[in-house]
Assembly symmetry: C2
Homo-oligomer: 448 residues x 2
Amino acid sequence: MRERGILLTDLYELSMLEAYAAHDMAETAVFEFFVRKLPPRRGFLMAAGLAQAIEFLEALRFAPDELAWLKDSRLFSTAFVDGLANLRFTGDVDAMPEGTIFFPDEPILRVVAPLPQAQFVETRLINLLHFQTVIASRAARMVLAAPGKQLVDFGLRRAHGAEAGLLAARASYLAGFAGTATVLANREFGIPVVGTMAHSFVQAHDDEATAFERFARVHPRALTLLIDTYDTERGATIVSRLAPRLAAEGITISAVRLDSGDLGAHAHAVRVILDDAGLQGIRILASGGLDEDGLLSLCRGGAPIDGFGIGTSLTTSADAPALDCAYKIQEYAGRPRRKLSEGKATWPGRKQVHRRYHDDGTIATDIIALDDEPAIGEPLLQPAMRNGRRVAGLPDLTDARAHAAASLTHLPKPLRHLEPHHIPIQISAGIRHLATAMDRMLAPGHHP
Amino acid sequence: MRERGILLTDLYELSMLEAYAAHDMAETAVFEFFVRKLPPRRGFLMAAGLAQAIEFLEALRFAPDELAWLKDSRLFSTAFVDGLANLRFTGDVDAMPEGTIFFPDEPILRVVAPLPQAQFVETRLINLLHFQTVIASRAARMVLAAPGKQLVDFGLRRAHGAEAGLLAARASYLAGFAGTATVLANREFGIPVVGTMAHSFVQAHDDEATAFERFARVHPRALTLLIDTYDTERGATIVSRLAPRLAAEGITISAVRLDSGDLGAHAHAVRVILDDAGLQGIRILASGGLDEDGLLSLCRGGAPIDGFGIGTSLTTSADAPALDCAYKIQEYAGRPRRKLSEGKATWPGRKQVHRRYHDDGTIATDIIALDDEPAIGEPLLQPAMRNGRRVAGLPDLTDARAHAAASLTHLPKPLRHLEPHHIPIQISAGIRHLATAMDRMLAPGHHP
């Protein structure tokens, strides 16, 4: 499989390019990526995926084998395919920095480029921005639900394929997770990688104590033992007997991991067993079907758990695996554009988002305005690419993670507590006037 | 990003391998992949992903740069990393052919290999089998909901990354979809690729009629026009005026596409407009937030829609984006193994699934038995790999698609109609006796 090539796109992107080419339609277009509405129970979203979007745009070109295949496919004319050899992205991109909190209707990325370029990148650009935004937005909720706890991504196995697993590690780290179990995410992004052991390791031995001891001797540093294969409290008792013996040899058990049953109840019982054995230094980690509701419940209930491994609910964002998002044309050849489809109408024009804060630093309101319309507040869309190249000084993943952490502190208290709260999003007078004027022109019955 | 390498795995797989190596634990292990329970509202699942799993196992090896990085990482001892250079998969795999219907607790894939190999492949094997099984299972429901209709995958943009988009096209085609919009899926898998146009194409023009005409002249074959950008019925009227003029030039509009509003009502209105203009040959395609409930409702309501484009609900399997699945050790060194973790206990031993049918060809019951236990019925696990190589004559994607279609006809009528129905799954006497014997041995208080 070569799933990363430029042919990872919808057929209609190429069909439209052929039509644009035939009619010399290559004037400047403005497209914006935005989310139409929040999923149920969600109060905010977190932007992510810009770094991969920029990489995609910078590298955009057809390889010789891709052009040869397109010709052989006979889907398009030879002359058109020959012309694709010159396709590059030469446009400008403005975007919210990764880690920025945002709300419905707000563009988080804006492309200004010749129409064929701006159109062609649609499919993969959405694919990249949507997924990491989905994951960062979910991960941020888990971070808020478990303040002070170490959260780790355990979700590669049930992520939707290879790229999803790798980028979920990135997006969750960006949003405040401490690390991931995915080795490649350490190599590719420098994300701290952590691991424990699987039940199969214990089961491959005839008894649990032997399994623990063998694992410990090979991994004397940062050692975590999984204790629920047969019976959690019995596992803890085995650890309490083993730890002093290993300590005499310089081997330190740093944590035990629970992975089934009532995690809060087991954590209390295990804590007592360990403390009674003088093992206050052994931390308790928990995993197994956890989401932000489970984290809230355990943390508010005072469960003595120091860290959590989060899998499926994170890497598939199981409660909201997709966002109602779009990448829509807003302007072409200097004139604003609007779609009126039922339930999917867009606000026309090239836009900026301005954020205002209360005195205590929390977000008061956002104003979506035309880019050239005066508005008060912090402009959220920042230059990311000019003439097809990234601008200097873009944030790296560490910067983005710090920005995400700061952004979460600007959320109003109810949103920080994952409770319902509505931040008013204003559409500027300039946009409203423009929309009204266009509606008159585009309405049924009007024939321009 | 290099997300397809062998380092796309959980750290603990390598940690366990290091411990197995240190203790010379390399006897034969049996692992099985199965789903613990059905998602809500689901009555069956469809196996998929075996072809990619086999490719992964056949190609399993560490590249020199991956070994060099592992050494630099200092996560493991140099001697252990050096030994990884020789890691290959030399084991046997038996699996349900892709497209087979299956139920909870039934192994759909069984690995028999030296313990380190069988353990190490866990993460990516689950990642590959889980995702395509998720998608094929969802796609099969849509196929059942819209008999005789052409279903097409439109979901790349909201799939979770590149591999998810590409493999969702494959899994849905396997389950009975007619094609995909994803160009690369045609190149990689030979899946029919289809496309229409985007709203932005219409919006980039000053009026809809010009946009339609320009698109038509460039794509005179298999032409589909998107008619809902401003007003669906007005769009249909424009098409009804344009079609005769284009026909005189030899250009045929083959379909129109609706993408918003009440699709059934619009389809009726558009059908009347087209038929009144003598355009009975123009088909109506629909898209926009459809899932199997929407398909059922439109099809049972008699909406004159000939085909559907399905996006997010398919490629994210939004109602059930993950399955509660596992890859668990069942035997090591000739002895059965069992996990007792609360809510996650496994049935021990090396297993086979036998299916029995009613006289009318529908599935009556499945029996999960030990592999060497006599049982009546069609054995569902078939040889897929021997000694690390695929067996001859494995089904290709076309075969798998035919097998999937046949499998759906064996579903009892309520399941074919997406209604609740429980097929009894029996656990054999041999497995039950084994489990009881092991529970006595493994129970708390028992110290072997």
